[in-house]
Subunit: 209 residues, 2 copies
DNA sequence: TAGATTGTTAATCGATTAACAATC
DNA sequence: TAGATTGTTAATCGATTAACAATC
Protein backbone atom coordinates (compact mmCIF):
# COMPACT_ATOMS: atom_id res chain seq x y z
CA UNK A 1 0.00 0.00 0.00
CA UNK A 2 1.36 3.38 -1.02
CA UNK A 3 1.85 6.26 1.34
CA UNK A 4 -0.26 8.34 -0.99
CA UNK A 5 -2.44 7.08 -3.80
CA UNK A 6 -3.03 9.58 -6.64
CA UNK A 7 -6.41 11.30 -6.47
CA UNK A 8 -7.13 10.26 -10.04
CA UNK A 9 -6.97 6.64 -8.91
CA UNK A 10 -9.28 7.30 -5.95
CA UNK A 11 -11.76 8.92 -8.30
CA UNK A 12 -11.98 5.74 -10.37
CA UNK A 13 -12.57 3.37 -7.46
CA UNK A 14 -16.25 4.32 -7.04
CA UNK A 15 -16.79 3.43 -10.69
CA UNK A 16 -15.28 0.00 -10.12
CA UNK A 17 -17.47 -0.38 -7.08
CA UNK A 18 -20.55 0.63 -9.01
CA UNK A 19 -19.84 -1.98 -11.66
CA UNK A 20 -19.24 -4.64 -8.99
CA UNK A 21 -22.48 -3.74 -7.21
CA UNK A 22 -24.31 -4.38 -10.46
CA UNK A 23 -22.56 -7.73 -10.87
CA UNK A 24 -23.46 -8.75 -7.33
CA UNK A 25 -27.08 -7.92 -8.08
CA UNK A 26 -26.91 -10.17 -11.12
CA UNK A 27 -25.36 -12.95 -9.03
CA UNK A 28 -22.18 -12.87 -11.02
CA UNK A 29 -19.41 -14.60 -9.06
CA UNK A 30 -16.27 -13.86 -11.02
CA UNK A 31 -14.97 -11.04 -13.10
CA UNK A 32 -11.69 -10.02 -14.69
CA UNK A 33 -9.85 -6.78 -15.20
CA UNK A 34 -10.66 -7.18 -18.87
CA UNK A 35 -14.39 -7.47 -18.32
CA UNK A 36 -14.44 -4.49 -16.00
CA UNK A 37 -12.34 -2.54 -18.46
CA UNK A 38 -14.68 -3.17 -21.36
CA UNK A 39 -17.69 -2.24 -19.30
CA UNK A 40 -16.11 0.98 -18.10
CA UNK A 41 -14.34 1.90 -21.31
CA UNK A 42 -10.82 1.94 -19.89
CA UNK A 43 -7.82 -0.40 -20.12
CA UNK A 44 -7.48 -3.58 -18.11
CA UNK A 45 -3.91 -2.67 -17.20
CA UNK A 46 -5.17 0.49 -15.58
CA UNK A 47 -7.62 -1.40 -13.43
CA UNK A 48 -4.97 -3.86 -12.26
CA UNK A 49 -2.56 -1.03 -11.60
CA UNK A 50 -5.14 0.94 -9.66
CA UNK A 51 -6.03 -2.03 -7.47
CA UNK A 52 -2.37 -2.86 -6.89
CA UNK A 53 -2.07 0.32 -4.83
CA UNK A 54 -4.12 -1.40 -2.15
CA UNK A 55 -3.15 -5.05 -2.25
CA UNK A 56 -3.66 -8.22 -4.26
CA UNK A 57 -7.29 -9.11 -4.75
CA UNK A 58 -7.31 -11.54 -7.67
CA UNK A 59 -6.12 -14.98 -8.68
CA UNK A 60 -4.04 -15.63 -11.77
CA UNK A 61 -5.97 -17.50 -14.38
CA UNK A 62 -9.26 -16.86 -12.59
CA UNK A 63 -9.75 -13.17 -12.03
CA UNK A 64 -11.57 -11.56 -9.12
CA UNK A 65 -14.31 -12.88 -6.90
CA UNK A 66 -17.01 -10.26 -7.27
CA UNK A 67 -18.39 -10.09 -3.71
CA UNK A 68 -14.88 -10.15 -2.25
CA UNK A 69 -13.54 -7.37 -4.44
CA UNK A 70 -16.65 -5.33 -3.80
CA UNK A 71 -16.18 -5.65 -0.06
CA UNK A 72 -12.55 -4.70 -0.36
CA UNK A 73 -13.39 -1.59 -2.35
CA UNK A 74 -16.08 -0.65 0.12
CA UNK A 75 -13.58 -0.93 2.90
CA UNK A 76 -10.94 1.10 1.06
CA UNK A 77 -13.43 3.86 0.30
CA UNK A 78 -14.82 3.79 3.86
CA UNK A 79 -18.28 3.03 2.56
CA UNK A 80 -18.65 -0.17 4.53
CA UNK A 81 -20.51 2.06 6.95
CA UNK A 82 -23.58 4.24 6.55
CA UNK A 83 -22.77 7.95 6.39
CA UNK A 84 -25.29 10.49 7.64
CA UNK A 85 -25.69 13.59 5.52
CA UNK A 86 -27.31 16.99 5.77
CA UNK A 87 -28.96 18.73 2.86
CA UNK A 88 -28.85 22.52 2.94
CA UNK A 89 -31.39 24.32 0.80
CA UNK A 90 -34.91 22.97 0.48
CA UNK A 91 -35.70 24.17 -3.03
CA UNK A 92 -36.50 21.87 -5.93
CA UNK A 93 -32.98 20.47 -5.91
CA UNK A 94 -32.93 19.99 -2.15
CA UNK A 95 -36.24 18.14 -2.38
CA UNK A 96 -34.91 15.87 -5.10
CA UNK A 97 -31.82 15.10 -3.04
CA UNK A 98 -33.81 14.27 0.08
CA UNK A 99 -36.10 12.01 -1.94
CA UNK A 100 -33.31 10.43 -3.97
CA UNK A 101 -33.55 6.68 -3.66
CA UNK A 102 -30.02 6.04 -4.82
CA UNK A 103 -28.24 6.92 -1.59
CA UNK A 104 -29.47 4.23 0.79
CA UNK A 105 -28.05 1.25 -1.08
CA UNK A 106 -24.73 2.96 -1.52
CA UNK A 107 -23.86 3.89 2.05
CA UNK A 108 -25.40 7.32 2.46
CA UNK A 109 -28.56 8.69 3.97
CA UNK A 110 -29.99 12.16 4.49
CA UNK A 111 -30.69 12.81 8.15
CA UNK A 112 -31.31 16.55 8.23
CA UNK A 113 -32.52 19.35 5.97
CA UNK A 114 -31.96 23.05 6.53
CA UNK A 115 -33.27 26.21 4.93
CA UNK A 116 -33.54 29.91 5.76
CA UNK A 117 -37.05 30.47 4.41
CA UNK A 118 -39.51 30.78 7.35
CA UNK A 119 -42.29 29.44 5.12
CA UNK A 120 -40.38 26.24 4.54
CA UNK A 121 -39.10 25.65 8.05
CA UNK A 122 -41.26 23.07 9.80
CA UNK A 123 -42.60 21.60 6.58
CA UNK A 124 -41.52 18.07 6.02
CA UNK A 125 -39.87 16.28 3.14
CA UNK A 126 -39.89 12.52 3.06
CA UNK A 127 -40.90 12.52 6.73
CA UNK A 128 -38.13 14.88 7.76
CA UNK A 129 -38.84 18.36 9.11
CA UNK A 130 -37.00 21.23 7.47
CA UNK A 131 -35.00 22.98 10.17
CA UNK A 132 -33.85 26.57 10.43
CA UNK A 133 -30.37 27.44 9.31
CA UNK A 134 -29.97 29.36 12.57
CA UNK A 135 -29.74 26.08 14.47
CA UNK A 136 -27.71 24.32 11.81
CA UNK A 137 -24.22 24.56 13.33
CA UNK A 138 -25.42 23.22 16.63
CA UNK A 139 -27.52 20.46 15.07
CA UNK A 140 -24.67 19.29 12.87
CA UNK A 141 -22.47 18.96 15.92
CA UNK A 142 -25.08 17.17 17.96
CA UNK A 143 -25.89 14.74 15.16
CA UNK A 144 -22.21 14.35 14.31
CA UNK A 145 -22.91 14.83 10.64
CA UNK A 146 -19.71 14.86 8.58
CA UNK A 147 -21.08 15.19 5.04
CA UNK A 148 -23.29 17.86 3.53
CA UNK A 149 -25.00 18.41 0.20
CA UNK A 150 -25.03 22.10 -0.61
CA UNK A 151 -28.10 23.10 -2.62
CA UNK A 152 -28.41 26.80 -1.90
CA UNK A 153 -28.26 29.78 -4.30
CA UNK A 154 -24.84 30.98 -5.48
CA UNK A 155 -24.98 34.09 -3.31
CA UNK A 156 -25.34 32.02 -0.14
CA UNK A 157 -23.00 29.16 -0.99
CA UNK A 158 -19.75 30.41 0.53
CA UNK A 159 -21.40 31.57 3.74
CA UNK A 160 -23.25 28.31 4.20
CA UNK A 161 -20.08 26.34 3.49
CA UNK A 162 -18.36 28.29 6.27
CA UNK A 163 -21.19 27.36 8.64
CA UNK A 164 -20.98 23.71 7.64
CA UNK A 165 -17.29 23.62 8.46
CA UNK A 166 -18.06 25.31 11.76
CA UNK A 167 -20.54 22.55 12.47
CA UNK A 168 -17.89 19.91 11.98
CA UNK A 169 -18.73 18.86 8.43
CA UNK A 170 -15.68 17.44 6.68
CA UNK A 171 -16.95 16.78 3.16
CA UNK A 172 -19.12 19.07 1.06
CA UNK A 173 -20.72 18.25 -2.26
CA UNK A 174 -21.75 21.57 -3.73
CA UNK A 175 -24.41 22.00 -6.38
CA UNK A 176 -23.86 25.77 -6.48
CA UNK A 177 -22.03 26.83 -9.66
CA UNK A 178 -19.34 28.84 -7.95
CA UNK A 179 -15.89 28.20 -6.56
CA UNK A 180 -15.97 27.73 -2.80
CA UNK A 181 -13.05 28.08 -0.42
CA UNK A 182 -12.67 25.70 2.49
CA UNK A 183 -9.88 25.08 5.03
CA UNK A 184 -7.24 22.47 4.34
CA UNK A 185 -8.40 18.95 5.07
CA UNK A 186 -12.03 19.62 4.20
CA UNK A 187 -13.13 17.61 1.19
CA UNK A 188 -14.95 19.51 -1.51
CA UNK A 189 -16.51 18.41 -4.78
CA UNK A 190 -18.83 20.06 -7.24
CA UNK A 191 -21.74 18.98 -9.36
CA UNK A 192 -22.61 21.49 -12.04
CA UNK A 193 -24.66 20.10 -14.92
CA UNK A 194 -23.91 23.16 -17.03
CA UNK A 195 -20.18 22.54 -16.83
CA UNK A 196 -20.78 19.00 -18.07
CA UNK A 197 -23.07 20.24 -20.83
CA UNK A 198 -20.70 22.94 -22.00
CA UNK A 199 -17.91 20.41 -22.43
CA UNK A 200 -20.19 18.40 -24.68
CA UNK A 201 -21.42 21.28 -26.82
CA UNK A 202 -17.80 21.91 -27.78
CA UNK A 203 -18.04 18.75 -29.85
CA UNK A 204 -21.45 19.54 -31.33
CA UNK A 205 -21.97 21.38 -34.57
CA UNK A 206 -23.67 24.66 -33.77
CA UNK A 207 -27.22 25.04 -35.04
CA UNK A 208 -27.23 27.04 -38.26
CA UNK A 209 -30.02 29.60 -38.35
CA UNK B 1 -5.33 26.24 -33.29
CA UNK B 2 -4.62 22.54 -32.84
CA UNK B 3 -6.17 19.80 -34.91
CA UNK B 4 -7.30 18.19 -31.70
CA UNK B 5 -7.38 19.76 -28.27
CA UNK B 6 -7.09 17.30 -25.36
CA UNK B 7 -10.40 16.54 -23.68
CA UNK B 8 -8.93 17.47 -20.32
CA UNK B 9 -8.43 21.00 -21.63
CA UNK B 10 -11.99 21.18 -22.97
CA UNK B 11 -13.28 20.09 -19.58
CA UNK B 12 -11.60 23.06 -17.92
CA UNK B 13 -12.92 25.71 -20.29
CA UNK B 14 -16.41 25.78 -18.73
CA UNK B 15 -14.79 26.52 -15.39
CA UNK B 16 -12.94 29.46 -16.88
CA UNK B 17 -16.17 30.61 -18.44
CA UNK B 18 -18.02 30.30 -15.14
CA UNK B 19 -15.43 32.45 -13.40
CA UNK B 20 -15.58 35.04 -16.18
CA UNK B 21 -19.38 35.14 -16.04
CA UNK B 22 -19.08 36.01 -12.36
CA UNK B 23 -16.56 38.76 -13.12
CA UNK B 24 -18.81 40.23 -15.79
CA UNK B 25 -21.65 40.30 -13.27
CA UNK B 26 -19.40 42.23 -10.92
CA UNK B 27 -18.44 44.67 -13.69
CA UNK B 28 -14.83 43.59 -13.55
CA UNK B 29 -13.11 44.69 -16.75
CA UNK B 30 -9.71 43.02 -16.58
CA UNK B 31 -8.33 39.82 -15.24
CA UNK B 32 -5.09 37.87 -15.48
CA UNK B 33 -4.14 34.23 -15.72
CA UNK B 34 -2.88 34.57 -12.16
CA UNK B 35 -6.17 35.86 -10.78
CA UNK B 36 -8.15 33.15 -12.54
CA UNK B 37 -5.68 30.56 -11.34
CA UNK B 38 -5.99 31.58 -7.71
CA UNK B 39 -9.75 31.59 -7.93
CA UNK B 40 -9.89 28.16 -9.52
CA UNK B 41 -7.05 26.60 -7.57
CA UNK B 42 -4.87 25.74 -10.55
CA UNK B 43 -1.67 27.20 -12.02
CA UNK B 44 -1.57 30.32 -14.16
CA UNK B 45 0.68 28.57 -16.66
CA UNK B 46 -1.99 25.98 -17.20
CA UNK B 47 -4.61 28.59 -17.97
CA UNK B 48 -2.36 30.35 -20.48
CA UNK B 49 -1.45 27.06 -22.08
CA UNK B 50 -5.06 25.97 -22.31
CA UNK B 51 -6.12 29.22 -23.95
CA UNK B 52 -3.18 29.10 -26.35
CA UNK B 53 -4.79 26.12 -28.05
CA UNK B 54 -7.38 28.49 -29.45
CA UNK B 55 -5.59 31.75 -30.10
CA UNK B 56 -4.17 34.79 -28.35
CA UNK B 57 -6.69 36.55 -26.16
CA UNK B 58 -4.60 38.68 -23.81
CA UNK B 59 -2.23 41.62 -23.77
CA UNK B 60 1.21 41.48 -22.20
CA UNK B 61 1.41 43.58 -19.08
CA UNK B 62 -2.35 43.98 -18.96
CA UNK B 63 -4.01 40.58 -18.93
CA UNK B 64 -7.39 39.72 -20.42
CA UNK B 65 -10.42 41.88 -21.07
CA UNK B 66 -13.14 40.01 -19.19
CA UNK B 67 -16.10 40.47 -21.56
CA UNK B 68 -13.94 39.72 -24.58
CA UNK B 69 -12.45 36.52 -23.17
CA UNK B 70 -15.88 35.41 -22.02
CA UNK B 71 -17.28 35.87 -25.50
CA UNK B 72 -14.37 33.99 -27.01
CA UNK B 73 -14.88 31.06 -24.65
CA UNK B 74 -18.58 31.04 -25.37
CA UNK B 75 -17.83 30.87 -29.03
CA UNK B 76 -15.27 28.09 -28.63
CA UNK B 77 -17.66 26.01 -26.53
CA UNK B 78 -20.57 26.70 -28.89
CA UNK B 79 -22.57 28.25 -26.08
CA UNK B 80 -23.04 31.57 -27.84
CA UNK B 81 -26.36 30.06 -28.82
CA UNK B 82 -29.27 28.73 -26.78
CA UNK B 83 -29.48 24.92 -26.79
CA UNK B 84 -32.85 23.23 -26.43
CA UNK B 85 -32.91 20.20 -24.17
CA UNK B 86 -35.26 17.37 -23.34
CA UNK B 87 -35.63 15.91 -19.86
CA UNK B 88 -36.55 12.24 -19.73
CA UNK B 89 -38.03 11.02 -16.48
CA UNK B 90 -40.45 13.21 -14.52
CA UNK B 91 -39.65 12.01 -11.03
CA UNK B 92 -38.24 14.20 -8.28
CA UNK B 93 -34.98 14.65 -10.18
CA UNK B 94 -36.72 15.38 -13.47
CA UNK B 95 -38.85 17.99 -11.75
CA UNK B 96 -35.80 19.63 -10.23
CA UNK B 97 -34.07 19.72 -13.62
CA UNK B 98 -37.07 21.26 -15.36
CA UNK B 99 -37.35 23.88 -12.64
CA UNK B 100 -33.62 24.54 -12.38
CA UNK B 101 -33.00 28.25 -12.80
CA UNK B 102 -29.34 27.86 -13.63
CA UNK B 103 -29.72 26.78 -17.24
CA UNK B 104 -31.21 29.85 -18.87
CA UNK B 105 -28.34 32.21 -18.19
CA UNK B 106 -25.83 29.67 -19.36
CA UNK B 107 -27.14 28.81 -22.80
CA UNK B 108 -29.52 25.94 -22.14
CA UNK B 109 -33.25 25.55 -21.75
CA UNK B 110 -35.57 22.63 -21.22
CA UNK B 111 -38.15 22.43 -23.99
CA UNK B 112 -39.69 19.01 -23.48
CA UNK B 113 -40.28 16.47 -20.72
CA UNK B 114 -41.06 12.81 -21.23
CA UNK B 115 -42.16 9.97 -18.97
CA UNK B 116 -43.77 6.54 -19.28
CA UNK B 117 -46.12 6.82 -16.31
CA UNK B 118 -49.71 7.38 -17.59
CA UNK B 119 -50.53 9.23 -14.37
CA UNK B 120 -47.83 11.78 -15.06
CA UNK B 121 -48.39 12.28 -18.78
CA UNK B 122 -50.38 15.42 -19.38
CA UNK B 123 -49.49 16.96 -16.05
CA UNK B 124 -47.40 20.06 -16.35
CA UNK B 125 -44.13 21.13 -14.82
CA UNK B 126 -43.12 24.74 -15.02
CA UNK B 127 -45.77 25.29 -17.68
CA UNK B 128 -44.64 22.36 -19.78
CA UNK B 129 -46.81 19.29 -20.35
CA UNK B 130 -45.22 15.93 -19.66
CA UNK B 131 -45.37 13.91 -22.86
CA UNK B 132 -45.49 10.19 -23.40
CA UNK B 133 -42.28 8.35 -24.12
CA UNK B 134 -44.09 6.64 -26.99
CA UNK B 135 -43.99 9.88 -28.98
CA UNK B 136 -40.52 10.84 -27.83
CA UNK B 137 -38.47 9.82 -30.87
CA UNK B 138 -40.79 11.68 -33.21
CA UNK B 139 -41.00 14.75 -30.99
CA UNK B 140 -37.25 14.97 -30.62
CA UNK B 141 -36.86 14.93 -34.37
CA UNK B 142 -39.59 17.51 -34.95
CA UNK B 143 -38.23 19.84 -32.30
CA UNK B 144 -34.66 19.21 -33.45
CA UNK B 145 -33.51 18.65 -29.90
CA UNK B 146 -29.86 17.65 -29.72
CA UNK B 147 -29.29 17.42 -25.97
CA UNK B 148 -31.06 15.31 -23.35
CA UNK B 149 -30.94 15.00 -19.59
CA UNK B 150 -31.52 11.39 -18.60
CA UNK B 151 -33.31 11.08 -15.26
CA UNK B 152 -34.88 7.64 -15.46
CA UNK B 153 -34.31 4.57 -13.26
CA UNK B 154 -31.23 2.43 -13.87
CA UNK B 155 -33.23 -0.38 -15.44
CA UNK B 156 -34.58 1.96 -18.14
CA UNK B 157 -31.47 4.03 -18.80
CA UNK B 158 -29.88 2.08 -21.66
CA UNK B 159 -33.15 1.63 -23.52
CA UNK B 160 -34.07 5.29 -23.21
CA UNK B 161 -30.59 6.31 -24.32
CA UNK B 162 -31.08 4.20 -27.46
CA UNK B 163 -34.35 5.99 -28.15
CA UNK B 164 -32.74 9.37 -27.64
CA UNK B 165 -30.08 8.57 -30.22
CA UNK B 166 -32.80 7.38 -32.57
CA UNK B 167 -34.49 10.73 -32.10
CA UNK B 168 -31.36 12.55 -33.21
CA UNK B 169 -30.01 13.52 -29.80
CA UNK B 170 -26.25 13.95 -29.93
CA UNK B 171 -25.36 14.68 -26.31
CA UNK B 172 -26.69 12.90 -23.24
CA UNK B 173 -26.13 13.87 -19.63
CA UNK B 174 -27.11 10.83 -17.61
CA UNK B 175 -28.08 10.90 -13.95
CA UNK B 176 -28.55 7.13 -13.87
CA UNK B 177 -25.73 5.41 -11.97
CA UNK B 178 -24.87 2.90 -14.66
CA UNK B 179 -22.57 2.72 -17.64
CA UNK B 180 -24.40 3.45 -20.87
CA UNK B 181 -23.26 2.53 -24.36
CA UNK B 182 -23.80 4.93 -27.24
CA UNK B 183 -22.62 5.00 -30.87
CA UNK B 184 -19.43 6.78 -31.78
CA UNK B 185 -19.82 10.50 -32.08
CA UNK B 186 -22.56 10.74 -29.47
CA UNK B 187 -21.44 12.75 -26.46
CA UNK B 188 -22.07 11.20 -23.08
CA UNK B 189 -21.43 12.45 -19.56
CA UNK B 190 -22.54 11.28 -16.16
CA UNK B 191 -23.60 12.93 -12.95
CA UNK B 192 -23.62 10.54 -10.01
CA UNK B 193 -23.50 12.20 -6.60
CA UNK B 194 -22.61 8.91 -4.92
CA UNK B 195 -19.47 8.54 -7.03
CA UNK B 196 -18.43 12.02 -5.92
CA UNK B 197 -19.26 11.23 -2.29
CA UNK B 198 -17.41 7.92 -2.29
CA UNK B 199 -14.23 9.62 -3.50
CA UNK B 200 -14.47 11.98 -0.57
CA UNK B 201 -15.15 9.38 2.11
CA UNK B 202 -11.85 7.75 1.17
CA UNK B 203 -10.20 10.72 2.83
CA UNK B 204 -12.45 10.76 5.88
CA UNK B 205 -11.74 8.89 9.07
CA UNK B 206 -14.39 6.21 9.49
CA UNK B 207 -16.76 6.69 12.39
CA UNK B 208 -15.67 4.55 15.30
CA UNK B 209 -18.60 2.81 16.95
C1' DT C 1 10.80 54.10 -19.08
C1' DA C 2 9.73 50.47 -15.51
C1' DG C 3 6.63 47.07 -14.28
C1' DA C 4 3.61 43.58 -15.45
C1' DT C 5 1.85 39.77 -17.90
C1' DT C 6 1.34 37.26 -22.00
C1' DG C 7 2.34 33.19 -25.16
C1' DT C 8 5.59 29.62 -25.79
C1' DT C 9 9.42 26.60 -25.14
C1' DA C 10 11.70 23.00 -22.96
C1' DA C 11 12.10 20.42 -18.86
C1' DT C 12 9.81 17.96 -15.49
C1' DC C 13 6.53 15.32 -13.70
C1' DG C 14 3.09 11.83 -13.56
C1' DA C 15 -0.13 8.65 -15.68
C1' DT C 16 -1.02 5.01 -18.93
C1' DT C 17 0.01 0.90 -21.24
C1' DA C 18 2.48 -3.01 -23.31
C1' DA C 19 4.56 -6.95 -22.08
C1' DC C 20 5.56 -10.90 -19.40
C1' DA C 21 6.97 -13.87 -15.49
C1' DA C 22 4.37 -15.97 -12.04
C1' DT C 23 0.89 -18.97 -11.02
C1' DC C 24 -3.86 -20.48 -10.43
C1' DT D 1 -0.95 -30.03 -18.51
C1' DA D 2 -2.72 -26.00 -21.25
C1' DG D 3 -4.99 -21.85 -20.95
C1' DA D 4 -6.01 -17.80 -18.65
C1' DT D 5 -5.24 -13.85 -15.94
C1' DT D 6 -2.95 -11.57 -12.32
C1' DG D 7 0.52 -8.17 -10.41
C1' DT D 8 4.45 -5.63 -11.77
C1' DT D 9 8.07 -3.65 -14.47
C1' DA D 10 9.79 -0.61 -17.73
C1' DA D 11 8.74 2.06 -21.67
C1' DT D 12 5.79 5.28 -23.59
C1' DC D 13 2.85 8.77 -23.67
C1' DG D 14 0.85 13.02 -22.31
C1' DA D 15 0.08 16.80 -19.10
C1' DT D 16 1.92 20.29 -16.11
C1' DT D 17 5.00 23.81 -14.93
C1' DA D 18 9.10 26.78 -14.67
C1' DA D 19 11.22 30.14 -17.06
C1' DC D 20 11.72 33.88 -20.14
C1' DA D 21 11.72 36.65 -24.44
C1' DA D 22 8.38 39.60 -26.25
C1' DT D 23 5.80 43.49 -25.62
C1' DC D 24 1.94 46.17 -23.82
Amino acid sequence: MDASVPAIVINRLPLYLRALDLMVENDQRLTSSQELAEWLGISSAQIRKDLSHFGEFGKQGTGYEVPFLRDQLRSILNVDQLWDMAVVGAGALGHALVNYGGFAHRSFRVRAVFDVDPDKIGQSINGMAIESQTVMVERLQTMEIKIALLAVPVRAAQHVADLLVKGGVRAILSYAPITITVPNGIQLAYIDPVVALQSMTYYLTPVVT
